[in-house]
């Protein structure tokens, strides 16, 4: 068991050990959907939702099913994530078709989002209990959203500035991400 306080788990997942900027999880959407602030925000919110569900499912699986078979963890977690994303997709399509259209391809792509799978693995490795897991998931989701929105705002602004042709594209995005990551290192002393 882990005896960290809920607040420190939440804060650590959100800023100090930000999933994207410190642990490099969920980089694909970070690079792919961070061109517009609005899309980035929606992607972040969808992430919080799926992360929380995954945390719940992983906790149940760990406590009641996988106690005697830890070697099946990787396989069963990935199946849980894949089916969860599928279910969420169907439910959203049924009850909120507008949101479904707005999210588009990013919803199914969440299956191979390492942030979701990574959350399940980290939560297990650190031995979080039920409540700690949920708080961890929400913190991580908010952290992802924060990183996505910050990145998107910087990219929107940088489109108007005069950048040498050679630097446009991925290279620049990575270096901006590096500077953001540097800024987030400033939080390291907080906990």
């Amino acid at each position: 068991m882990n005896d960290q306080t809920l607040f420190s788990i939440f804060f650590s997942a959100m800023v100090v050990n930000n999933f994207t900027l410190a642990l490099f999880l969920g980089l694909c959407p970070f690079m792919g959907v961070s061109a517009r602030v609005e899309t980035a925000l929606r992607m972040g919110l969808a992430n919080i939702f799926v992360l929380t569900l995954t945390s719940l499912a992983a906790w149940f699986l760990n406590t009641y099913v996988l106690e005697n078979a830890p070697y099946l963890r990787i396989i069963s977690f990935i199946i849980v994530v894949a089916s969860l994303v599928q279910i969420v997709e169907m439910v959203v399509k049924k009850i909120a078709p507008v949101l479904f259209r707005q999210l588009g391809i990013f919803l199914p792509l969440m299956t191979t989002n390492c942030a979701i799978f990574g959350l399940a693995i980290f939560q297990t490795n650190r031995g979080y209990d039920f409540l700690q897991g949920i708080v961890f998931a929400i913190g991580a989701g908010l952290g992802l959203t924060l990183a996505l929105v910050l990145m998107a705002s910087i990219r929107e602004t940088s489109e108007l500035s005069d950048i040498p042709a050679i630097a446009k594209g991925t290279g620049l995005t990575l270096i901006i991400a590096g500077s953001l990551s540097l800024a987030f290192m400033g939080f390291a002393g907080l906990l």
């Binding site: 396989i75 191979t112 390492c114």
Partner: protein, 207 residues
């Protein structure tokens, strides 16, 4: 699909379509565990193993997998090999296993591996898929070794734990921290861009 020769299948992944540097796939491991050369090598070896085994297995049973459930089937095959790699590393290289930690399990969601299965192994023979997997695996290794080598030299001043510079060397600590990963990959990609542009303008001048 039959327009390429087997040797092209092999060479393509190494540089021209390098998974990390050109296609930007598999970025998470490329950034997260390349703070030293040793970690980069362990990660490349594990990924190489998983990629090659799953490519061979999937290309040999491709006619048995129904189209509707192919992605889930691929993920299951990959997850099985990742579990194997995890256990092998734990048994034979416990130090590296501890350093890499959760990132071994995260090979499952490396989009590069799933991408190769979907784009290549599901439509080609076992032999060609093997060549393709080895090529892409080598390309991945090259990218990771570049990252790991540069970051270790600049950030710690050593290579394979052997000190390279005199005692007066002040290590560039930020390079082994997360921010350094983003910066280093950004610089490498910018460098490649300059290189490509020069080549293009030379070709244009020659023509």
């Amino acid at each position: 699909m039959r327009t390429t020769t087997p040797s092209q299948d092999f060479v393509r992944g190494i540089w021209k379509e390098n998974p990390v540097l050109i296609q930007m796939l598999g970025l998470c491991p490329a950034l997260a565990v390349t703070n030293t050369l040793k970690n980069a090598l362990a990660m490349s070896a594990a990924t190489f193993f998983v990629l090659t085994c799953s490519s061979v297995l999937i290309s040999s049973v491709k006619s048995l997998i129904p189209k509707e459930v192919r992605i889930s089937s691929y993920i299951l095959v990959i997850a099985t090999f990742v579990t194997l790699a995890d256990m092998l590393l734990q048994a034979y290289a416990p130090v590296q296993h501890k350093e890499l930690g959760a990132f071994i399990a995260l090979i499952v969601v490396n989009c590069m591996i799933l991408g190769r299965q979907e784009a290549f192994s599901s439509r080609n023979t076992v032999y060609r898929s093997l060549l393709d997997a080895i090529g892409v695996g080598i390309g991945f290794t090259i990218a990771l070794v570049m990252m790991g080598g540069f970051r270790e030299i600049l950030g710690i001043g050593t290579l394979f734990d052997i000190p390279l510079f005199g005692p007066n060397f002040e290590p560039w600590v930020v390079m082994v921290l997360p921010a350094g990963g983003f910066l280093m990959l950004g610089f490498i990609i910018l460098g490649l861009g300059v290189f490509e542009q020069r080549k293009k303008s030379r070709e244009a001048a020659a023509a």
